[in-house]
Point group: C2
Chain length 378, copies 2
């Protein structure tokens, strides 16, 4: 994929939190090999690689940082030969997004000064449209330079109930960010009636969890809202590039508060008028389940059965089946006969057979396996 | 399983033709490892072993003979340590049932004289009820001693269209076989209206392809009906227990006519009044497809979802699924969510997902794979 870019944005650093189990994508996604390490679009690049590919042209060398769990560091480095070892931050245990992004902000501030703008982009989202994405990031950086916490609001295509929404207010009247508006507030996963009412106003967009903000501004907000967490990430950052890192991590990390950046900063700061929203008019999906994965994949061209195969089509025989999604990732032949909208995910040690309509309930299968003590499969 | 038997029947030899691919049971049944080598009932014994178990108490030592393809001889011997090497006849290539049973009859006649009674029982059928089975065999032997070709007619439980039927006439009035009647004729796989009309008369039974006949009588009929085939099996039998066997097999076998015993002997001899039918009032199935396999298996007791698992129940997670059949024979976890009457057959190199209603069409999957040149999976 080629990005037509106006080149790196001075002082901009991309931060990619790479975490989350993706239990609704079991058995493809596992705790030991989560969603972001997979090529879920058949593009030949994993979600993490595609995220880095998208951001690298917008940053100066060394400007992409990944924050991930210790157990994934090796896989992340193997997938990202272009990202330096110093730019992969390892978390000893999951402490939610505020600790991850706060640590990255503090390390960036220590290394480069607090005026750098960081943009945080989850490692497991799919985006179509490099040009509108870049425009959103450039506007977001401009708004961040005006000391706002900036979120990207995605043009909603339907009243989704599995996404959060951001409510846009008046324009910020910024020269470099003409589309940027005040963010009036956030709503998590509304019911479908509320979501439809939101869309009717034209003032609501999907909150994709992309934040752009000066390192200093983020840390100041964190100091005001969650002082203990602020002090913790500052201590970690001060020791990060020294021989003390491991010791300070062991001392400080386990005590850090587990909280999402949305609750810790975005919501309270929005209430105080400090959050901006820039529109993102690109295709976006978080591939939350197999139905959404199916919708992202192109139908097989040679057939008229509306089937999707993620992997080698030659490993799938379909007869009298319409709209199936097959993931033949175990290298075995998969034959499906007489079932519509079936989802078959074949992996070396576990097989899932369900339908697109049941995609959200795959987490119940994971829960059932957990109850049975089969954590080896999770 | 214990058989209550009155002991061996003097002069009775069981012949078990073990052949047939069972393509509607793919991917469980393969050409290299066909249906009869599998435990399809969860009893711990394969269909072949259960067939031998059933007949051994009715025969004298050395009285069970298996006729199978050369490629299956090793597996057959491994499964049947109690059957002597001389009692496993290897066919260089499939030549249908008349050649197989004719060869067995000729070898038995050469070894033991033509007055022995042979009973032919397919290796891949399931029978419930040792006592009524034994009664049918004992009556069948009596009728065979009166020089009839005897077939066992199974009490039909429904107007099946996938079985053949035998039409019973008047009693033979034999002292040792009070239930034996003349067989008036045979019908292969009638339509459902014809089958229902048959059942209404009370005169038709399923033809299970079990034949009992004196070796001499069978060979005489064969000489009259198919003289070339008769001469071929006689030549083979004369050389069988000599050093000439391989040479004669190579010379004679490839030229033998491919014909079923039903067409070669049962039908023409019935027309001439020489076939008898004895009733078999035992449970019988040929496990023709996964729907019939499912019907044979007991539902899992601990659950109310009417599911069947052939294999380790601990390898299957079922949620919101009713009436599923799962065969987890690859040792992997199989999870099924939100599908009723689904059939999932998991093997190390191939997976089938279908429904019980489509069970008969599994052969189309096999055909599709053949068309694709994937004979390695067949």
């Amino acid at each position: 994929m080629t990005y037509t870019s106006d080149g790196p944005i001075p002082g901009f650093h991309a931060v990619i939190p790479a975490g989350g189990a993706g239990t609704r994508l079991w058995p493809l996604s596992r705790s030991g090999h989560p969603k972001f390490l997979h090529d879920l679009t058949g593009s030949g690049r994993t979600l993490l690689q595609a995220t880095v590919d998208r951001l690298t042209p917008l940053t100066e060398p060394g400007g992409v940082m990944v924050v991930t769990g210790e157990r994934h560091v090796e896989a992340v480095r193997a997938q990202l030969p272009g990202v330096g070892a110093d730019e992969v931050l390892a978390e000893p245990s999951p402490r939610d997004s505020m600790a991850a992004i706060g640590l990255a902000a503090a390390v960036l501030a220590a290394r480069h000064g607090g005026d750098v703008v960081l943009g945080s982009f989850a490692a497991d989202q799919v985006i179509h449209g490099a040009s509108p994405f870049e425009r959103a990031v450039r506007e977001g950086v401009e708004a961040a330079l005006a000391d706002y916490v900036v979120t990207v609001g995605i043009a909603a295509t339907h009243p989704a109930t599995s996404f959060g929404y951001v409510h846009s207010g008046d324009s910020l009247d910024l020269d470099g960010a003409p589309s940027a508006r005040h963010a009036l507030g956030f709503t998590e996963k509304p019911d479908v009636v509320t979501a439809a009412a939101y869309l009717a106003t034209g003032e609501y967009r999907w909150n994709a969890g992309m934040f752009l903000v000066r390192a200093r501004v983020l840390l100041d907000h964190l100091a005001a809202q969650r002082p203990a967490l602020h002090d913790g990430v500052r201590k970690l950052a001060a020791a990060w590039d020294t021989s003390e890192r491991a010791q300070v991590l062991a001392d400080v990390w386990p005590g850090l508060e587990k909280i999402a950046i949305d609750h810790a900063i975005a919501e309270p700061v929005a209430a105080a008028g400090g959050v901006a929203v820039v529109p993102g008019d690109f295709g976006w999906d978080d591939i939350g389940d197999f139905a959404s994965l199916s919708a992202l994949l192109a139908p097989l061209e040679a057939n008229d059965d509306n089937a999707r195969v993620l992997g080698d089509d030659a490993s799938v025989v379909r007869l009298d089946s319409y709209g199936s999604l097959v993931v033949p990732s175990a290298g075995r032949m998969v034959a499906v006969l007489g079932l519509d909208d079936v989802v078959i995910v074949d992996t070396p040690d576990a097989l899932l057979v369900t339908t697109r309509a049941r995609a959200q309930q795959v987490k119940d299968v994971v829960q059932a396996l957990r109850t049975q003590g089969r954590t080896d499969l999770l």
